[in-house]
């Protein structure tokens, strides 16, 4: 009797009761999470821009191996776009809320000159303090933009066009015709402009850290998702009870602070600063964001895309002369990139709305 196994009771398989099934307009994906992720990655705008970028790098490297494979080539590939990445990340955050910040070039000029002045007027000032000062001044200027846009209820295009000139005027009256020369800046700070850790330039690392932090925030944080909600439909966001003002001010503050940081980076990289430093770079920042898949009417896109757009923009400008394409066509090609990004946006959003309409009609 000892060997007799206990008679196992036949288990009754309990099927979950699904009698009250909910019909959804759009079904949640039934695919495994990993496969879903792979699919959305493959369809993403970021990946297609990255593919174009890799294509450009490959073409330039085939033509001239030192573009990627020499130590200077590798360094410049990462270093040159660092400044524009910072601006594009800030710009993307602002554009996602259906606004735009045109004042970033002037903010950059102001903090670049400030950086030089701090080193001249306070010899021995720690580099960290200068970075903090750049961030802080940029944040204050961005806050002014944000307050004017959010409280004044005037389109950001107009407000920041105004502050573009006002901030540039500040630099001009402050700097006048004086300029910062490389010999005015301490060697340690100038070395930052080219310093590398494991062949990765420090300035690029700064840009990547900022990019990751902002990207993570916008992707996961509740307040970050609200940026998208506001950009998709500002009125609905207000009705839903989101604190639209606060988020918009936050976006401009971020953009200003990053432009301020970019100003310090400018000084470290280029070593000389005149009163027109950064003139026109705001348009490159907007272009980078648009090329990177940030919809100009807000509500979609990622800072990752904007950053890749920035790298693409800078790298194309460096690669095209090497491929023997004259100056004029380089500009035209950048224009064509922007236009095709916008056309792609329209096509994708038209297809999306068609799909939603079909789904509604079928149900």
């Amino acid at each position: 009797m000892t060997t007799a196994p206990a008679p196992s009771k036949e288990p009754t398989v309990t099927v979950p009761d699904t009698s009250t099934e909910v019909q959804l307009l759009v079904e949640p994906s039934s695919l495994a999470p990993r496969r879903r992720m792979a699919q959305s990655l493959l369809r993403s705008r970021e990946l297609s821009i990255l593919a174009v970028l890799l294509l450009v790098i490959a073409a330039a490297t085939i033509k001239n191996p030192s573009f990627l494979l020499s130590s200077s080539g590798w360094r410049d590939l990462l270093l040159t776009p660092s400044m524009l990445i910072l601006l594009a990340v800030g710009q993307a955050a602002v554009i996602i809320t259906r606004n735009v910040d045109l004042s970033v070039g002037s903010v950059l000029g102001l903090t670049a000159y400030l950086t030089g002045r701090l080193f001249i007027d306070h010899p021995g000032i720690p580099v960290v303090v200068v970075f903090a000062a750049g961030l802080l001044v940029g944040a204050v200027l961005g806050l002014v933009n944000g307050l004017l846009v959010a409280l004044g209820r005037v389109p950001a295009l107009v407000i920041t066009l105004g502050t573009l000139y006002i901030y540039r005027g500040l630099v001009l009256s402050w700097a006048g015709s004086s300029r910062i020369n490389a010999s005015d800046l301490p060697a340690g700070f100038l070395a930052l402009g080219t310093q590398q850790i494991l062949t990765i330039p420090v300035l690029f690392l700064i840009a990547v850290v900022v990019l990751s932090a902002v990207g993570y925030y916008l992707y996961t944080a509740r307040s970050g998702r609200e940026f998208y909600a506001i950009g998709s439909d500002p009125d609905a966001a207000v009705l839903y009870g989101l604190n639209v003002r606060r988020r918009v001010i936050g976006a401009f503050l971020l953009s200003g602070a990053l432009a301020g940081l970019a100003g310090v980076v400018f000084a470290a990289r280029y070593g000389s600063v005149s009163s027109d430093a950064g003139t026109g770079i705001e348009l490159q920042a907007v272009a980078a964001a648009v090329i990177g898949g940030v919809a100009i009417f807000g509500g979609s896109g990622t800072v990752w895309g904007a950053a890749i757009g920035a790298v693409l923009l800078v790298t194309i400008n460096r690669a095209l002369p090497m491929l023997g394409i004259p100056d004029f066509w380089q500009q035209a090609l950048v224009g064509a990139l922007i236009l095709s990004a916008i056309v792609l946006d329209r096509v994708l959003s038209a297809r999306q709305s068609r799909r939603l309409v079909e789904a509604r009609d079928q149900s």
């Binding site: 030192s66 130590s71 402009g193």
Partner: protein
């Protein structure tokens, strides 16, 4: 004319007269020189307006400072206005304003040989003498051109410098200012001829334009070194360009391998001469150039010279000068700056 546009016209006239009155006031306030600004009425008291290519350019800061000193030593009033960026038509508004104020002379470095011509002729019709310096307009738009150095002399000194440094063979490139800058293009043409005639083994592979902007010039230098891996030398006949190229080269692995020379100022180049990136670069003394332009303007205003070939005038301590062909006055030979002498210069 509709009522609205008439009203706005009246407003415009009112605004204009107010602004003229205001500028008149400030002029009276600044014209507190001992030589009695009120006396003499219409009799010419020297007032000279310097219009550089752009503000914030240390080269023009130095030249205009020399001009200021000369104007003041002549008992005149000096002022400097100009655009922020060296664009072809950016100077027109400043020329027009100066013409409306009936200043006695304009000293201009032209961003474009033609774009500012009409404005200059308008000013000359009103009795203002026009002296160009550093970069000329077409001759029919000015009374006199003060040439910093003969284009031939400058092109030659830069070509000689670079060919000597690279051993008279290999690839070189030029980093210029804007594609339509008169003086740059004249020098580049001469350099090409000199290279073809006297340096058959040196090949000019590229001319790129940095628009006298730090960032653009810097990035163009990087692109130049990437595009032409065998490059042995760069000539940059512009102060902003050579400093940006020096900054890039000194941080790149081509430092010491690619020679750099051109026209620069000692303050901007000190760092790169001392760290060995640059052996030698050239320039005239910009302060002397500005001063000579001021003395020439004075001579034109006083009527000592009319600007025709063969006229002579004295320019303070600079000595005596003779007007050459095309109403041009030549300052002298360019000067070579190197590690041995750069610390004697502070501009």
């Amino acid at each position: 004319m509709t009522p609205i546009s008439r009203r706005s016209a009246v407003l415009g006239v009112a605004a204009l007269s107010v602004s003229l009155a205001l500028t008149g006031c400030t002029k009276a306030a600044t014209g507190a020189t001992p030589s009695g600004s009120g006396s003499g009425g219409a009799a010419a008291k020297l007032s000279v307006v310097f219009i550089p290519k752009n503000l914030g350019n240390p080269y023009f800061d130095t030249s205009d400072a020399g001009g200021k000193k000369a104007v003041e030593s002549l008992g005149g009033t000096y002022s400097e206005v100009g655009p922020q960026q060296a664009s072809p038509d950016g100077q027109v508004q400043y020329i027009n304003t100066a013409a409306q104020q009936h200043v006695s002379a304009l000293v201009v470095s032209a961003n474009d040989p033609k774009a500012i011509g009409d404005a200059l002729n308008q000013a000359r019709k009103g009795g203002t003498k026009v002296v160009t310096f550093d970069s000329d307009t077409d001759p029919q738009y000015r009374d006199l051109f003060i040439n910093q150095a003969s284009p031939e002399g400058l092109a030659k000194v830069e070509v000689d410098g670079i060919t000597k440094q690279i051993g008279d063979s290999g690839e070189i490139a030029i980093l210029s200012a804007s594609a339509n800058a008169t003086n740059q293009n004249a020098w580049i043409d001469l350099m090409k001829k000199d290279l073809a005639a006297n340096h058959p083994n040196v090949k000019l592979v590229d001319v790129v334009y940095g628009n006298d902007d730090d960032q653009t010039s810097f990035d163009k230098t990087a692109a130049l070194l990437q595009t032409h891996p065998n490059l042995k030398g760069i000539i940059s006949p512009t102060t902003v360009g050579i400093a940006a190229a020096g900054r890039y080269l000194s941080t790149s692995d081509k430092k010491g391998k690619v020679a750099l020379t051109g026209l620069g100022t000692p303050n901007q180049m000190r760092e790169y001469v001392k760290n060995g990136t640059v052996k030698e670069f050239y320039l005239w003394n910009p302060a002397d150039l500005g001063a000579l332009a001021a003395y020439a303007a004075d001579a034109l205003v006083k009527g000592t010279i009319t600007g025709k070939e063969g006229d002579t005038f004295t320019a303070g301590s600079l000595g005596s000068f003779k007007v050459g062909a095309n109403q041009t006055v030549l300052l002298g030979d360019p000067f070579a700056f190197n590690a041995g002498n750069i610390d004697q210069f502070k501009f």
